[in-house]
Each structure stands twice: as C-alpha cells, then as structure tokens.
Symmetry: C2
Subunit: 207 residues, 2 copies
C-alpha cells in the first residue's frame, strides 16, 4: 500500500500545476473518447486539445491505456462524491432513490464526459486496467442496492433483485444516446419518468 518515498516532497505550486495539466488532459481525453471513441482518438488529438506536442502527454501518463483508465476512474470518483452528497441526510427510501437517480443523470448528462467513457469504452480496457476500474465501480453500485431493498420493504418496488438494478441502469445510461440539452425535456423530467416506471404507486398519491 504505502510506497517508500525517497524523493523530496514536490513544492505545492509545482504539484498543483502538474495536477492541473493532468486534469486538463483527462478532461480533453474524456471529451474526445466520447465523441470519437478511444481507438479513433490519437494522442496527437489529445495533445492538440490542451496545446501540447504529441510526445508530451506521456510525461503525465505512461500509455494511452493509462489515460483511459484514469479518465474512467476520475469519472467514477466524481460520481461517487456527487452520490454521497445527494443522499446525505435523507431517510425516506423513495427520497433517497429519487436523489440517486437525479444525481446519476446529472453525472452522465451534464458537462462531465468522464463517466460516459465508462459506458462507451469498457471493451477498450485492458484486463489489468479493468480490475482497477471495477473496484471503484463496485463502490458506486453498492450504494444502490440497499436503497432498492428499502424501497421494496416499503412496498414501492416489485423487485429489488440485481436484474431490477440493471434494467434501471439501462434506462438511465441509455439517455446518453438520445438526450440533448434543450431538447424538450429537462433532466428532472427524465428522472421523474424513469422513477415512475420503476416505482410502484401503491399509495395512490397523485403524481
């Protein structure tokens, strides 16, 4: 876990700069990977996008594959943070569920492109990278299951199995294929539609 660090600690300013450049590369790569696909995106495309020369991204990442992995993990970590913030303090299962759905849609449809890379480029991951990504992905998905379980306990979900979650993820993740900002439906409207389909309305409360 802990590596022996013999190098002197990098100075704050320099470290921040390096981190910024790295973050810029991740953001640019994410956008290109979504637009053109991982294989169709060249290192030169990515370097151009941030004003570097073609060899320079390799100062920040050891390979193109490493960039892909980093983009995905970055996207998952942002999603995890948003998720935790969204459900913090909520008690009611349906409120929690609603918050998770909206948070998820926001992550995949609003400005962040890193998460969608995960949806598009799973195949392009090497086995080693995939194992690392799965570890973070599992943490993200693990948050859903207890919420679905509580929802079922409350009689508002017919099925809380893994298949149910996969169907829900399918409906939500597919939105990246058709959603366009300003295209008639807002994020919240889409979220409500998805929730209506999955949550039973046994209380007869008006929608």
């Amino acid at each position: 876990m802990a590596r022996s660090e013999k190098k002197p600690a990098p100075r704050k300013a320099a470290a921040a700069d390096e981190g910024n450049r790295r973050a810029e590369l991740i953001r640019a790569a994410g956008r290109l990977f979504v637009d053109k696909g991982f294989d169709a995106t060249t290192i030169r495309d990515i370097a151009d996008a941030v004003g570097m020369r073609s060899g320079s991204p390799f100062y920040h990442f050891k390979s193109k594959q490493d960039m892909l992995k980093s983009v995905m993990i970055e996207g998952l970590q942002a999603a995890l943070e948003a998720q935790q913030a969204a459900v913090a303090g909520l008690k009611d299962p349906e409120e929690k569920f609603r918050a998770l759905v909206k948070s998820h849609l926001r992550i995949i449809l609003e400005d962040h492109t890193e998460f969608p890379v995960l949806l598009y480029e799973w195949r392009a991951l090497s086995d080693e990278s995939r194992a690392e990504v799965i570890a973070v992905k599992d943490r993200y998905e693990a948050v859903w299951q207890p919420v679905l379980r509580d929802l079922k306990k409350a009689g508002r979900l017919g099925d809380d199995s893994k298949v149910a979650r996969l169907m829900l993820f399918g409906a939500l993740n597919w939105t990246v294929q058709w959603y366009r900002p300003g295209g008639g439906l807002t994020l919240d409207q889409i979220a409500e539609r998805a929730i209506d389909f999955f949550v039973c309305d046994k209380t007869g409360k008006p929608k």
Copy 2:
C-alpha cells in the same frame, strides 16, 4: 478478337457463392466489431476469420466503412423480419408488446451479432452511411409506437411517449452489457421482468 473469349456469364452457383462469401464476411466482421470495436478491428482480422488474404475483402466491400454499414443494415433487416414474424396475427396489445420485447431480446442476445454493432458503433458511422442506416432503423422503431399507443389506450401503460420507448430500449439494449447465456436468467425471464416494469397491472391479474 475472335480468340479472346469472354467469360461465361456467372451461373447461379457462382452468384450464390459470392453472396455466401459476402455473408461470411459480414458475420465475421459483426463478431469482431462487437468483441474488439470497429476501430480496433483490422481488415486483416476479418480476412483471417474467413480464410482470406488481407486485400480480398475489398473485392466484396469498397471500404471498411462500407463493411460497417452493411453489417448494421444486415442486423436491422434480420430484426425487422423477426419482428414481423413475431407479431403476425396477434391482436391483443399486450400480447403484441410481449412478442416485440422477446423478439428484440432474441435478436440482440442470441447468436446474431450484427444488431449489437448498431448499439456499439453508432459513432463510427460516416454521415453518409448513417443516413442509410437511419432509414432502416426508423422502420424498425416505427413498429413499436402503435403498440405502445394501444397499450396505453387499454390502460396498461402510463405513458406512451417517445421517452417511454427510449427508456424501454435502454433497459433492453443494456442487456448486451451484462447478459451471459446460462448465467442464471433465461431470455424469457428477462423479458418478463422488463415487461413487468413497464406495463401497469391495473387488472389485478396474477403474475
């Protein structure tokens, strides 16, 4: 001139052979495009898969892009035929819906790999190819809308808008990401799960 023999007109068998080779290439390309992605698949991969040399696929297709387009259109046409056979003679909206869902799952999960290419490689289509593919795709999707409309008329669907169809397609199409044959759930079980989520059970009939 008298000596220069013209080739005899290709006989039926020859024409059929050519069609077979072309079909073989489409099938092999479909599988590779799904497994590795369009960009990561080389013409050499495809040629190898059917026992040709690397230059020979261009005898059947004018470019790699042309192969992609052909694979997708082939997949859509098979889907269209299966779809028509599935609903033929059915009257009840829910029966029709159930038949469409099962037919769709069969097409994307059972042996045909051409249709999933459509789900995976939309980005890789050139604008010209895309227009051709969209024309066939629209025919496939057009069959769903009246069925959803009738289902809503019968009070068994809360929403028959385009969004409803997109959510359903999302849930169904996402199965290619997680379904594995023999992995616990059969195709029909998945279909029933999906139908349960989308169809309201206002009649109280047991599931």
